[in-house]
Amino acid sequence: MLKIKDLHVQVGGTEIIKGLTLEIKPGETHAIMGLNGAGKSTLANTIAGRDDYTVTEGTITYQGKNLLDFEPHERVGEGIFLGFQYPVEIPGVSNLNFMRTALNGVRKYNGLEAMTAADFMKLVRAKAKALDMNPDMLKRFVNVGFSGGEKKRNEMLQMALLDPKLAVLDETDSGLDIDALRIVSEGINAQRRDDTSILLITHYQRLLDYVQPDFVHIMIDGKIVKSGGKELAIELEEKGYASVV
């Protein structure tokens, strides 16, 4: 699904990712853990194609294609989804209009006809209900005035609508209460299939109790320094970064 080889990324002239290698196969769920400032969000944003993040060395191959050749919106069309650590507020644009435009953008990219307003409403209501979201939030402006947890749920709603092949979820668990964490985890698990992959970025082992990863990686200073199974996350939680790496 995704092959990252010796990736170097600069942000504002500073190298943040310093030779990162990672492979995720279809059907796998990986978790990346790491100290604040390690470069986890930088990696996630680079996969999504943020244009002020410059890849200076290395490659990212997605489903056999050079991912760096694709514009951000084309990457979504190809099946990549980024759940933001800090979802952006967009005053004046309604959540519904936003999601419908997004879904139809992806459908158009894949040669499908636009979904009618009625069909879209049916779909979005069902998905929102599964995430236990207040339907009023659909009418509000994108993320404006949403609580931290509501923003994360809104990210999950977008993921459910776009049904990605590769979901990169950047601290989707932070800011969630216990009930919300369970609901969001169910949303993530529903997205796990033989033909899909998930990359979770998290600070807490708690999420990994609900969404069991196949691999756990520890990222420090722009590199993956240690990889293992789920037990690595437990070890981290118990002993801290200093003694594990």
Binding site: A48, G49, R50, D51, D52, E71, P72, H73, V76, G77, L82, F84, P87, V88, I90, P91, G92, V93, N97, F98, M99, T101, A102, L103, G105, V106, Y109, V142, Q158, L162
Partner: protein, 426 residues
């Protein structure tokens, strides 16, 4: 001031003597007023952002040919449509609906004939450009709505310019609302690529409890210059709700002069301006709170593309006796790059002590984070920018009470964004 320009206009104005009975004296007075002031220059504080150079170089002639240009579709459902071609009223192309049963509408010239004694009070305006409009008085509408009559659908006045390079149309509309009357007027301005000048004035008297909705849609041709003034006088408890949309012309200027004369009136003057490469839109509002307990609100949103320019000067004056005035003003401008320009100059002059006034002005670029967020959901960058501009301008269109017209105008903004992104930008 260039003598040739002045004498050019002088002979034009003299040539119009006798064309409207009773108007000659008014013309003369207005012309000497114009002559004394001359066209404004950048040195005048009120005109510092407007490029008036073309007015100093040559006198625009009066258009003298009738054309049969194609008319635009209506913006929405309307009660009647009045058409002016090259500044002259076209009875053939106008459609009065059954409006004549409810209100009085007639060409300015006819009105003068029967109301000679009122000529002087009828025409207002003291700045040079409005004075020239008066000196060149030829055509316009006088729309009188009797007390208590409410017209639901808007009345559309379409001004079309065609094949009129170096020529001008000076149109004057007069709106009079009886007590508790209500009417909506849409003024539209369109034209071909000729280098013409539209100089339009609308003056209104809104008497007690009456309501005037005013929508202006300026889509003049690419080489046109457009100057316009609205003089509005508000009586007790009356309302004036104006939305000005500036899209066309190479240079446009809109001035709203609103005076709240009696207690409890409400004035809303909003506007959107989109300036493409080489275009400049200048908007001025002066709301004068003379009587107490009144409120005013201004919301302006402008967008300037590369080498485009938008300017806003909003003035609020509150007289000593105008206690308990509420006045708000908000200006926000988007510039697409460093070559785009946005100017803002808010001015408050408050002599009363018990008032609430606020104003804010910001100039910024489209939020990169928002664009990335939208594109990271599969929305292409052009659509993303279009959505953000639509969201940005929406607030200034909010007070348009007709959904079909609001939608048509949002559509114009989307089209503007599409055509701009179609041209490659540095």
């Amino acid at each position: 001031m260039n003598e040739q320009v002045i004498s050019g206009y002088k002979s034009q104005s003299l040539g119009l003597h006798g064309t409207i009975p009773g108007a000659d004296q008014l013309r003369e007075k207005a012309f000497s007023n114009f002559e004394a002031q001359g066209f404004p220059t950048k040195k005048s504080e009120d005109w510092r952002y407007s490029d008036m150079r073309q007015f100093h170089k040559q006198a625009y002639g009066l258009v003298d040919h009738a054309a049969k240009p194609e008319l635009p579709d209506m913006l929405g459902e309307t009660a009647a449509r009045f058409v002016f071609i090259n500044g002259r009223y076209s009875e053939d192309l106008s459609d009065l609906g059954d409006l004549w049963q409810a209100i009085s509408i007639r060409p300015l010239a006819n009105h003068f004939m029967s109301n000679e004694y009122r000529v002087n009070e009828l025409i207002t305006g003291t700045d040079a450009v409005s004075c020239l409009n008066t000196a060149m008085l030829r055509d316009g509408l006088v729309l009188s709505v009797p007390a208590g009559v409410e017209i639901d659908d808007p009345i559309e006045i379409v001004h079309v310019m065609s094949d009129a390079s170096n020529q001008a149309a000076h149109v004057r509309h007069v709106v009079e609302l009886g007590e508790y009357a209500a009417v909506s007027v849409i003024e539209r301005f369109i034209g071909d690529d000729s280098a013409y000048w539209t100089n339009s004035v609308l003056q209104a008297r809104v008497t007690e409890g009456a309501k005037l909705r005013h929508i202006r849609v300026q889509e003049d041709g690419a080489n046109a210059v457009h100057t316009a003034k609205s003089y509005i006088n508000l009586d007790g408890g009356s309302e004036y709700i104006c939305t000005n949309v500036a899209l066309g012309g190479k240079m446009s200027r809109f001035d709203a002069e609103v005076r709240i004369l009696v207690d409890g009136a409400k004035a809303i003057v909003n506007g959107v301006a989109l300036a493409g490469s080489g275009q400049s839109h200048d908007m001025h509002v002066h709301i004068s709170h003379i009587a107490p307990h009144s409120s005013s609100d201004q919301v302006f949103r402008t967008v300037a593309d590369s080498h485009g320019k938008t300017s806003f000067q909003g003035k609020i004056t509150v007289a000593k006796d105008a206690q308990r005035t509420l006045a708000d003003q908000s200006f926000k401008a988007l510039i697409f790059d460093k070559t785009a320009e946005a100017n803002a100059k808010p001015e408050l002059e408050i002599l009363a002590d018990d008032v609430k006034c606020s104003h804010g002005a910001t100039v910024g670029q489209l939020d990169d984070k928002a664009i990335f967020y939208l594109t990271s959901r599969g929305i292409d960058p052009e659509t993303a920018r279009q959505m953000l501009v639509a969201a940005f301008t929406a607030e200034a269109l909010e007070k348009i009470e007709f959904d079909d017209i609001k939608e048509a105008l949002s559509g114009r903004i989307a089209t503007w964004m599409l055509t701009r992104t179609a041209t490659p930008k540095a």
